[in-house]
Symmetry: C2
Subunit: 122 residues, 2 copies
């Protein structure tokens, strides 16, 4: 059992590889760690990679929305990458709208999206 | 409990964020997954990030050596990043020589090392 999820930095991007179900404590710890890392050093983007997850409950999906909102307030754009078709179907069937966070097919697409934003916004 | 560790691809680099103790099954699964990914599409480098680990036993350290050797045979250079001072001390005290794999202070240093290799070797 892990007690915190590492936040990896690649230049001005943060990357979190989520490999375990995010129970309450883990989600709060992760959110707090992300905000502390953003306070320490700003980041242009945050990628939450969930390619390792087979299931994603609405609690965790909502936690991602909150994390994205928090990061946005700290000036950072969040992308959730690696969602499996099964998770996409389940979330949709459960009435969860993905409007709360951006998504990308995989990590690479997410990094590309965050790079191209550069030209548009910066 | 996770049953496999995701292998993330960033262009021609593979990144594995190791967050849980690597018991036997997980190590074998990871090694097999890495080799399959290399067979699918070659990679210049492989980064095993262990910044989330507080302890690293010699079994796992040896598994990293084997993984690095396997990846080398498939044309890929392996770097272990994010070793804590505590782990470095323990491994050294237990007589484990780090000669079996390259190390870097953090993910970013590892990626930089793999980029600069470009100019030297490719």
């Amino acid at each position: 059992m892990i007690d915190r999820i590492p936040i990896l930095r690649i230049r001005d991007l943060l990357l979190v590889s989520i490999q375990a179900d995010l129970h309450d404590i883990l989600v709060e710890q992760l959110q707090s760690d992300i905000l502390k890392e953003l306070e320490r050093k700003s980041a242009r983007g945050l990628v939450l990679d969930i390619s390792a997850l087979n299931i994603l409950d609405t609690y965790t999906a909502r936690a991602f929305v909150h994390t994205a909102q928090m990061a946005r307030l700290m000036g950072t754009r969040t992308i959730v990458s690696g969602m499996t078709p099964a998770i996409a179907m389940t979330l949709t069937e459960m009435g969860f709208s993905a409007g709360g966070f951006e998504t990308a097919l995989d990590l690479e697409s997410a990094l590309t999206a965050l790079s191209t934003q550069d030209a548009d916004e910066d």
